[in-house]
């Protein structure tokens, strides 16, 4: 992003497109000069003639490329999915705040993901795996609609090898599925944690965040300020100008997208943050 010209995208060539699950693919982009991001930040990805969409960065800051996991769900994202390797994609960013990282060194980490919500968490998860000795237990609770919708299945083995406890769940199983069936909050009963030294990072659909956060505080006993979620809004400009992403007085693109539970509870009085 050139100084001052906040709406000018930087054009990058797509290096690789990796299909993940139906309608979801990961786009690999080279890092432009001086690009430094933090886990939890997002990019405004633009495709000329179609428009711009906010996409969270799925690659950890220490990784050599930018990885963007995009679901084909709307006008712009479906056009992005029709791109080929070598085509140009514009990015603006990194924008927004980030997951607290330094603050929780030495703590136990609990990730709670739902559906495509694993994509922003992956950035932080990998950053922690690169610095595995800085953290205690790392637990990943992840749920999706069906077994075919579980994101990044090829990575789970690698996660386990590096000491992540993974628990999966699906809303509807199929004939091969032997694991848990139910929403992600049903996994909470199956783990034992020390709530006073655990921090939870939550991302997923709004309704999932709402109930997961409630149960983390009420059933698991984690302090509300240690429950952290990234919220989803359609940020059209990403720099706090257009007003589309506002929840009560918070601009998700500048004050967020990462919020702590007490902040979200406060917003709930005036608006619907989920």
């Amino acid at each position: 992003m050139k100084q001052g010209l906040i709406f000018l995208p930087t054009l990058l060539k797509v290096k690789e497109i990796k299909p993940e699950i139906p309608a979801v693919a990961t786009f690999r982009l080279p890092k432009p000069d001086g690009f430094i991001h933090k886990a939890g930040q997002f990019l405004e990805v633009s495709l000329f003639g179609k428009g711009e969409v906010p996409i969270s960065i799925s690659s950890p800051p220490s990784y050599e490329d930018i990885l963007l996991t995009i679901r084909s769900t709307g006008y712009v994202t479906s056009a992005i999915h029709s791109l080929k390797e070598g085509d140009a994609l514009g990015i603006r960013g990194p924008l927004g705040n980030s997951f607290p990282y330094e603050e929780y060194k030495g703590w136990d980490i609990l990730f709670v993901g739902g559906g495509i919500g694993l994509a922003p968490l992956r950035s932080l998860l990998w950053e922690m795996l690169y610095h595995r000795e800085d953290f205690g237990r790392i637990i990943l609770l992840y749920g999706a609609r069906t077994p075919a919708d579980l994101l990044y299945p090829w990575q789970y083995e690698e996660y386990e090898k590096r000491g992540v406890e993974i628990l999966l769940t699906v809303d509807r199983g199929d004939e091969k599925w032997r694991g848990n069936v139910g929403v992600v909050t049903t996994l909470f009963e199956k783990i034992k944690i020390e709530p006073e030294r655990t921090v939870a990072y939550v991302c997923g659909p709004g309704i999932m965040i709402r109930f997961a956060m409630r149960d983390l505080v009420e059933k698991m006993g984690i302090a509300p300020s240690n429950c952290i979620a990234t919220l989803e809004r359609h940020m059209k400009c990403g720099v706090g100008k257009c007003g589309h992403c506002v929840i009560a007085e918070k601009y998700v693109c500048i004050d967020g997208p990462v919020f702590r539970y007490p902040e979200i509870k406060m917003l709930e009085r005036y608006d619907d943050p989920w």
């Binding site: 003639g49 709004g206 809004r233 100008k241 009560a248 601009y251």
Partner: protein
């Protein structure tokens, strides 16, 4: 900023000054259009300017934030894209702007300059370039319209800051209050046209200000109590539902409000060549906060209305923006067809707390 200096200018000298400005740069002034409505228009000949108006139908925000604005162009040349950000910022002077609109510009500038977030690195280059090239010569209001309520909203009828020059009609001469260095430079450049103001004229302006306060109409928007209720978030759901029911989602309020500044972004063209533009948007439209894939956190009209009023009248915003979001220009009163304009909304929120059926619910929350 306090007033830097007082000057006075004769009526014929003012026309000469404006003609000189019009010959050098773009002069925007109220012009009486067919049908008797005054609108801000670019003026070449100062004889077109009308002085017979209370306020223009459209606020002058379109000169800072155009309804439709190209922000960048793109063109595919071979394998590469050529992308350019377009910043269009002609030198402009705007004459005849009323204090409420001056206050609106100050509010919008606070937002677009990134000062709201203490992020001045994210200042909007398009808006700020136009703002820096804009000179404001405002005219204080002596005859408010029945719909005006700026006196309740710190938006007039006289201002202390925000303008470069503020003129007051003292019948035979105009009193000029210089409010900024830009205004001072203008006065010094055309110093033969100006004269030093005398003490009695300054006193007369003060007296006029007191007299004007008596002439305001029947639309009080005493927002203090409303601000408190909205900040606490304890307004009964039924109030929003009753307001939302009557709203016809025309977006007229947001387009006529001098303080509304939301926009949406569109790409016009094909994959090879075209431009990206931004156009005004309204938080009352259903698609405003819809997310990809369909979920809409503000599906009901009551939710959207609540969001709009929260932006205008909550302490959370007052804290960040330096003032609440209404200057009392009265344009929403003129345009609103569902009778849910700002003073009416404030009135209904206030009266809701007097009604017994709501009292109980308010306590429960």
């Amino acid at each position: 900023m306090a007033i830097l200096a007082y000057r006075k200018i004769r009526k014929e000298n003012l026309m000469e000054l404006l003609q000189k400005i019009a010959s050098e740069e773009e002069l925007i002034a109220p012009v009486e259009m067919f049908g008797g409505e005054a609108l801000f228009q670019p003026v070449k000949d100062v004889r077109d300017i009308t002085f017979n108006y209370v306020n223009t139908l459209f606020p002058p925000k379109q000169f800072l934030l155009p309804r439709f604005e190209k922000i960048l162009t793109y063109k595919k040349e071979g394998e590469e894209f050529k992308v350019e950000e377009i910043i269009e910022a002609p030198r402009r002077t705007i004459f005849g702007i009323r204090p409420c609109d001056v206050e609106g510009i100050r509010y919008t500038e606070h937002f677009y300059s990134g000062k709201m977030f203490n992020r001045e690195d994210l200042a909007d280059p398009h808006f700020m370039a136009r703002r820096n090239n804009l000179t404001i010569i405002s005219v204080a209001c002596l005859n408010p319209a029945p719909t005006c309520f700026c006196v309740c909203c710190d938006g007039g009828p006289f201002l202390e800051k925000g303008f470069d020059l503020q003129l007051t009609d003292l019948e035979e001469v105009w009193l000029c209050e210089v409010g900024s260095q830009k205004g001072m430079a203008l006065v010094e450049r055309f110093s033969p046209l100006f004269e030093e103001a005398e003490e009695k004229e300054i006193q007369r302006r003060k007296k006029l200000e007191e007299e004007v306060l008596e002439r305001f109409g029947p639309y009080p928007a005493f927002s203090g109590a409303t601000l408190r209720n909205i900040t606490r978030g304890d307004i009964p759901r039924q109030v929003w539902e009753s307001l939302g029911e009557r709203c016809i989602v025309c977006g007229g309020w947001q387009f006529l409000c001098p303080l509304c500044f939301c926009y949406t972004v569109v790409d016009i063209g094909n994959e090879e060549e075209g431009y990206r533009a931004r156009v005004w948007d309204s938080c009352h439209y259903e698609g405003y906060s819809r997310l990809a894939g369909g979920p809409n956190p503000r599906k009901g009209r009551d939710r959207r209305r609540e969001r709009c009023i929260f932006h205008k009248f909550s302490w959370q915003y007052v804290e960040r923006m330096g003032r609440h979001g209404c200057v009392g220009c009265g344009r929403c009163v003129i345009t609103c067809m569902g009778y849910v304009h700002m003073p009416q909304t404030v009135w209904e929120i206030r009266s809701a707390f007097r009604e017994e059926k709501y009292k109980k619910e308010a306590k429960v929350r």
